[in-house]
Amino acid sequence: MKQALSLAVLLLLAVGLASALRGPSVGAEANRTALFDDQKVNFGRRYTSRAREETGAPNVVASVVVTYRGLDTLGEVAVLFIAATGLATLLHTGRQRVSGTAPEGASLIVFTGCRFIFPLILLFGAYIFVHGHLTPGGGFQGGAIVASGFLLVYLGCRDREPSRRRLNALESLSGLAFVVIGLIGLAAGGSFLLDFLPKGSLYALFSAGIIPLVYVFIGFKVGSELGGILGDLSGARR
């Protein structure tokens, strides 16, 4: 009964989607040749043609993420922060922590390997988020790579796990830094998240104004938050 009902709902949805896509289809491809092209605003074309001059970053996605849609990114960082905080709240309130069976230690090879690889992963993550405005990647990807380094630690060498207090402090401070950068823009030019730093020369590491700075903070924040989430769910000691 439930299954049949669900299938009926899905069928309805599928028909709706198919009819929505019929005819001249949606998407940038269709918009490229649309009729009312002359008067229509198109974010994509505007950004690909102007972003390099306006922000100084060759990676257009990075300039969209940090500059044009910076408020979204701030909100998204806040969402991840909410998830990390909420997860810690849900897992640790209203009960005493049941100290389950201690996870068995990994073998010597795994242990040593983890200890050896962990700094390299951190370095790679840092490379990704520092170069976010030049190459594919950026704060989120670099942060996720840093967090996967923590995943390795939680799996392979538990006694090396990072201090939770330091992770929490790091995520708060980097979030705060993002807000402060935005407010400096407001004070300097009357507009939140305004790029108040010089653009520098194209393709240089120190260029593109606030984009690398913001990406570094996002990288720290995402890395420490995802690391904290992993630590909480794996039942690490606090």
Binding site: G16, S19, A20, G23, V26, A28, A30, N31, F36, K40, V41, N42, F43, G44, R45, E54, T67, Y68, R69, G70, L71, D72, L74, G75, E76, A78, V79, F81, I82, A83, T85, G86, L87, A88, T89, L90, H92, T93, G94, R95, R165, N168, A169, E171, S172, L173, G175, L176, V179, G182, L183, G185, L186, G189, G190, S191, F192, L193, L194, D195
Partner: protein, 495 residues
């Protein structure tokens, strides 16, 4: 210089500070939400006279609209963020003493972020930004519903999370369609071009958006999560969820329907959905024995009434709906807050446990009575002019169909009156249950930090009920903000 962006940036910054402070010294963290909301209240009051003359379009990153995210601090946005700040401030003061168990610093962080999400939703003029703030609101409420960590809290959090997550995915799907059709995400820009696209495609994208936001707005088929979530959460969170969170969902639906799509056939659908939601909510509330579940179902009924007012799609109807938003936010927050300590003292949520509360907790009971009467719509309270405006707006249409719907709404009010009078009678005119008198020491009045916000809310309800003019002056411009699509486009894009 005050800028509307501060309404979002400052609470967000405070929320990031809260856990940091919590690491060093946990005690002062509980004052931070109140501080943030007080700041928002002041900024909102400073902005209000200015935006009433002309809406303030805020750029981010210094690019002219529509090329970066922009906020539209119009009469509606600022008025609603004032409401959020006011209710948020009072509930935050209540929570200073009420929330003692568990990770207190985390509670206050999540609470601040919930309100930041709601404030961002009412201010933003960008569709995807609306989604991001919506997610902030939703995810922090999932976590806060399960804050106490007991069985009911976790279970209702799970249900709420599943339905909310699917709803959010639908919203994102709708945004994808909109972007594919229009190549833009600014709501004003979309509204400008909506006529040039075949209505069928626009309808499908709007249907996804309305369904997705409708989950949070708790309109009829999408509200299975609400009674559980609102009744299992801590009382201070129930007050915010009922008072603010649902309203934010309703606001998103209204913004999409009126501003993007323009008033077309959808308001008619809203009308029907609203009346059905009202009836189901009031009928279910009538049969409840659990006080918090009763209040939660009553919220569904009131949301039905608000959606009904919006569905009239006339200036007076929307004005009435906004009036109801204010009155319901105040009254429902008052009810949940005053019930909070009664439940805390008796340890039970059954209505029978509240017998004779009028003698043991006189101030709380009196304030509860004021809130209940206001919700029913009795004259000296704010609920009366609000309901009156909606009913008059329905009768204004001079159409037998609308008159019949107005009659149904009045029927719902009668049911509402019946169950609220039952509780008020239980509070004041029934003997306390056996054995309660022996533990007299525990049954005293709520502490001062809880009584202050409760009494302030009650005072506000009476004050606005006696002088509705203090509010109605702002409701007209706010309603026009929602309905007048051309002005909205003009303010943002300058065309």
């Amino acid at each position: 210089m005050v800028s509307p962006i501060l309404l979002i940036a400052v609470p967000l910054g405070l929320a990031f500070i809260t856990p940091l402070l919590g690491l060093l010294w946990e005690k002062p963290t509980r004052y931070l939400p109140a501080a943030g909301m007080a700041f928002n209240l002041v900024v909102g009051l400073l902005l209000l006279p200015r935006v009433l003359q002309e809406p303030w379009v805020v750029r981010t990153a210094g690019f002219p609209p529509p090329f970066s995210i922009h906020l539209m601090a119009g009469p509606l946005g600022v008025a609603l963020s004032l409401l959020i700040a006011l209710v948020g401030l009072l509930v935050a003061i209540y929570a200073i003493g009420y929330v003692r168990e568990g990770a207190v610093a985390r509670y206050h962080t999540l609470y601040l972020l919930l309100l930041t999400g709601a404030t961002g939703m009412v201010l933003t003029a960008d569709l995807f930004n609306l989604f991001v703030f919506f997610e902030m609101l939703c995810i922090s409420s999932y976590a806060l519903v399960g804050y106490s960590g007991d069985r009911a809290g976790i279970e209702s959090s799970a249900k709420y999370l599943i339905q909310g997550a699917v709803g959010s995915s639908l919203v994102l799907l709708g945004i994808g369609f909109v972007y594919g059709l229009f190549g833009t995400l600014s709501m004003a820009d979309i509204a400008r071009h909506v006529g040039s696209i075949s209505p069928m495609k626009v309808f499908i994208s709007v249907a996804f958006l309305v369904t997705g936001f409708g989950v949070e707005a708790a309109v009829l088929p999408l509200n299975a999560w609400l009674p559980d979530a609102h009744s299992s959460a801590p009382s201070s969170i129930s007050a915010i969820l009922s008072g603010i969170a649902i309203k934010a969902g309703v606001y998103a639906v209204a913004r999409v329907v009126f501003t993007i799509y323009g008033a077309g056939t959808i308001p008619l659908l809203l009308l029907v959905v609203g009346v059905l939601t009202l009836l189901i909510g009031e009928m279910s509330a009538f049969s409840q024995n659990d006080i918090k579940r009763l209040l939660a179902y009553s919220s569904i009924g009131q949301i039905g009434l608000i959606v009904f007012g919006l569905g009239l799609a006339s200036v007076s109807g929307v004005r009435g709906a906004l009036f109801l938003v204010v009155s319901h936010a105040l009254a429902k927050a008052l009810l949940f807050l005053s019930v909070g300590y009664m439940i805390y003292r008796t340890g039970s949520t059954e209505i029978s446990a509240l017998h004779g509360m009028g003698r043991r907790m006189p101030v709380s009971s009196l304030c509860f009575t004021i809130g209940a009467f206001s919700l029913v719509g009795l004259p000296p309270f704010i609920g009366f002019p609000a309901k009156f405006t909606v009913i008059m707006a329905a009768l204004e249409k001079a159409d037998p169909g609308f008159t019949a719907l107005a009659a149904i709404v009045l029927l719902g009010t009668v049911v509402e009156g019946a169950y609220f009078f039952r509780i008020v009678q239980a509070l004041h005119f029934k003997a306390p249950p056996e054995g309660a008198a022996s533990e007299q020491t525990e049954h005293g009045e709520a502490p001062v930090s809880a009584l202050v916000p409760v009494c302030l809310l009650a005072a506000l309800i009476v004050a606005v009920g006696v002088y509705p003019a203090v509010l109605t002056d702002y409701l007209g411009p706010a309603a026009m903000d929602l309905l007048d699509k051309a002005a909205y486009i003009h303010h943002i894009l300058g065309v």
